[in-house]
Symmetry: C3
Subunit: 392 residues, 3 copies
């Protein structure tokens, strides 16, 4: 019994260059045909050598322990090439182990991980791994959301210890969408020219997002999570619309990241997100793209908090937006907005701006502590319930 | 001369499914038979395809530059499955490249790395690598220590630049035990349902522990180190009994981690550990499991320090334990205990608790600085030698 | 068409053990001969099995999407072995997939990545990857710079999303030199006994340097960057001459690293480097090697800043140098020197020293904030334009 497959040598009904989706589905069928009892299901590895592969049919993974692995994340900056007026580019496609989504199956997904079960947990899928290849949406228009609706990897039933590592994603509405993630692992990936890089829907437990490039456009987010517990977003580089949005999420940590964004809303803790830590990040806000809009003006805050007991500690925030590009015109930009909630702590951050800028505490907020982050003039409190230790 | 082996194709005396330990030992013997002079020892790679492999005989690695590599960390949460009253689980075993420890050789180790030499340094083993497979203790009872005594990887002679990456470990007393580590590298691993995840014994130099899931039970530790110099524990997720214990260890750094624990003692700096940094971590203390006990009550501290010149900076600590589960009953929980030592600094941390909670300075401590971490009421000093800047 | 090559089985004009450089160049020629149109260039993977390979001819990579991959970083500490008076060492060479630079081609480079184009961006090379092998300069004398001049990987034309991961580098003047890097990725490497580990020349954008061991000698740097924007140096261990030097670099982040150095100048922000963040690092300064000199005495500062709006937050700095080894003799060591610039912030750091030591603000500096980092006595301000909140 083999557990090692190669899409280019497996005897499939179609060439992998024509439809790698069908080939992988047939491999999965073969795995299931061979691994027939509950104690003989170690899964398998499917290798994708470097090449340009069309995907016409969605892959459906309903087994655990499947590793799909290529030999190269194959990213190139289509954005830079497309926007350059110069011809003569050597490369016009991504490369490496390169899957081009050309679905003719009526779906807009490359890989769907899903297994039914009742209750849901008995169908739980374990340790599926995606490594070292690139999923390319082929064509797309900014900001990609809703756009083509293409999703690179969609995981839609209970799952444990999924690993997405070393992958490339490009020109997708959503690169990765994971529902009900427990201990998922998203590390070392290159996501660019996508609407949303990663969304964690439903509820998640202790997911890890580390060491990635996450480059999202203005309509989506670098990382979106709802009802997350203990998410760690650590050591990533988040660019263009570098943004993390947590909805009703608790005890998460956003540390040691490098953010760049052309829009407000770089970290959003909303809908009662509490006890989260935002520490030791470098935030850089650059000129807003004048014709594009993520719906948030400069009063939104580079960081916005609606929830209690969150900590914003030891970050460096740089705001450098030309006057004509600030919104609303003439307003004082808000670097941190505490919109609602009790006992949030903003301590030991450095604010740098090319214009007078503020930390703002909205009227409903209580007991916010703002310590060595702003001068007296830089703090705008619409509440009397706060404490301030001004920057000397 | 080949340097690329596959356990399923090597001509061994036994099937790898019956005893992968013997197969790997015979491969190592073959490597040694072929690599006979001091300048012709590049080592080799041994590949373990996905499969369920029994290990009856301990592997003994006494050569450098051996990489043992699988295609999948194959973890599943046995705990969740075992504790669920629901039948019908699709998966009942881990998978991927899955080694099941069924030792019949009188040992309780899967992989022993050891080479003799006199002095010890001449036997030093370099750059052995374990990657992308899972070591399964098969059966075990909580809290796993002392339990079966099974150890996944045991490195017991001088070693340099060992790499353990992308592995799974499950149901072991101790997943990894390394003596005398120099520049070891433990990264990207999934360790769960183990007594202790990683122990660094003897003395170690600049070991790196990054980007791991480390899930230990209450009898052991996520990371234990004695006489460590310059250990970096960075960007990990430590769960269940998320705990790091450093004994007589100096100038280590614990940064950017996410901790969850049901017990006190999440970071313990003891026996004169000094000049260590604990920064930018999110600590979450949840309900103690009422029938289990790690020997530390709520007066022990989520962080406890016995040593000098340590720094606890910019962490977020959340304590949320139901009243009946606090120990001793009715006591005010201690979030940080400085038990002994001089000039420890606790600066810029956020404390959140569902009950009045304290930072405690014991009587023997001197010159502790507690800055913007507690209110006046939250600091209990049994010494007059300290400085306090209360949270406003 | 194959896209998977093995240096030991490819039909080359020379044995890979004699000249792996020629073999890889011939493989690249074969790739180019087969991938002839602009839309059929996925690149390829070249595998280097464990072995000792001589390189006599420089490899020139002028295609995108090439992954060169071995099976082991193969490091051993030549320094420790060479400096030990004890004979009988088991290992005297590095191992794994081991390339020994014995250039007879008049160059001193192992891998050159370069493609011409006009303007330069059209020649831009994408997603070349180096993984899991070791480049060995074979012989070298400390401090390796200028030394043999050997460079392991030299990338000299516009490039995007280059990945260098899991590599070993030893006995080189410069391990990695990258010009004009955009979104390069240097992670999980072991660099030791080198002059400079990584230099980013020209200008770079959002490069990532994470999770590495970087061990450089006193003449070079662990990381050198000029005109960098948004560089992230995160979670690394930097030893011996643990040093990061940024020249005219903006909005970079140095977080969560462990530094050890025998010399001053562990982080240098110079020539107008601004808005950079240095946070949550553990810095350890140990005895200077008496006969070696990096040109910086103890008045240089463990951290030195010449630029504005930089932040040094929540670091732990340990200075422990024996009196006779301090330079100039009898001087008070400087831990942080703000040499020039406006509005730098030094907040919430812990300083530990075995002698009276200072933070120094030079005469030209303005508006530096020094908060909870030094006592009154530990701050030496040669300017009146600063604010100080002394450690209580």
């Amino acid at each position: 019994m083999t557990t090692v497959y190669d899409v280019t040598t497996f005897s499939a009904s179609v060439s992998p260059y024509t439809d790698i989706g069908t080939v992988i589905n047939e491999i999965i069928a073969d795995i299931k045909a061979q691994q027939t009892s509950q104690t003989t299901r170690p899964g398998a590895v499917i290798y994708i050598p470097p090449g340009h592969y069309d995907l016409r049919t969605r892959v459906v993974i309903d087994i655990s322990y499947l590793q799909i692995k290529g030999s190269g994340h194959g990213f190139q900056s289509l954005a830079i090439r497309d926007e350059s007026p110069t011809g003569g580019w050597a490369d016009t496609l991504p490369g490496g182990s390169h899957i081009q989504m050309k679905n003719t199956d009526g779906t807009t997904t490359a890989f769907l991980v899903q297994r039914s079960g009742s209750p849901a947990i008995v169908g739980r899928i374990n340790s599926v791994e995606f490594r070292d290849f690139v999923i390319d949406g082929v064509s797309a228009s900014k900001p990609y959301l809703p756009g083509s609706g293409k999703v690179g990897i969609s995981i839609q039933s209970d799952n444990d210890s999924i690993r997405i590592e070393g992958m490339g994603f490009v020109y997708l509405s959503t690169a990765m969408s994971v529902r009900g993630a427990d201990a998922a692992w998203v590390t070392g990936n290159f996501v660019a020219e996508c609407g949303t890089c990663l969304e964690l829907t439903g509820a998640s437990q202790v997911v890890r997002v580390s060491n990635n490039f996450l480059i999202s456009a203005w309509a989506g987010a670098s990382v979106f999570a709802e009802n997350a517990e203990g998410l760690l977003v650590q050591g990533n580089t988040l660019v263009w619309h570098g943004s993390i949005r947590l909805v009703n999420s608790q005890r998460c940590a956003i540390t040691g990241n490098k953010f760049v964004s052309s829009w407000a809303g770089m970290v959003i803790l909303e809908s009662g997100s509490g006890e989260n830590l935002v520490a030791a990040n470098q935030f850089t806000r650059v000129d807003t793209e004048s014709s594009n809009d993520n719906g948030r003006d400069d009063l939104f805050g580079m960081i916005q908090i609606s929830g209690s007991n969150n900590s914003v500690l030891s970050n460096h925030m740089s705001y450098n937006v030309a006057g004509p590009l600030r919104r609303p015109s003439g307003a004082t930009p808000t670097l941190i907005l505490v919109k609602s909630g009790d006992r949030n702590v903003i301590n030991g951050n450095t604010l740098v701006a090319n214009v007078a800028a503020s930390v703002v505490l909205d009227a409903s907020t209580t007991n916010t502590k703002v310590i060595y982050t702003t001068t007296a003039a830089q703090l705008q409190a619409f509440t009397a319930s706060f404490a301030h230790v001004p920057m000397p």
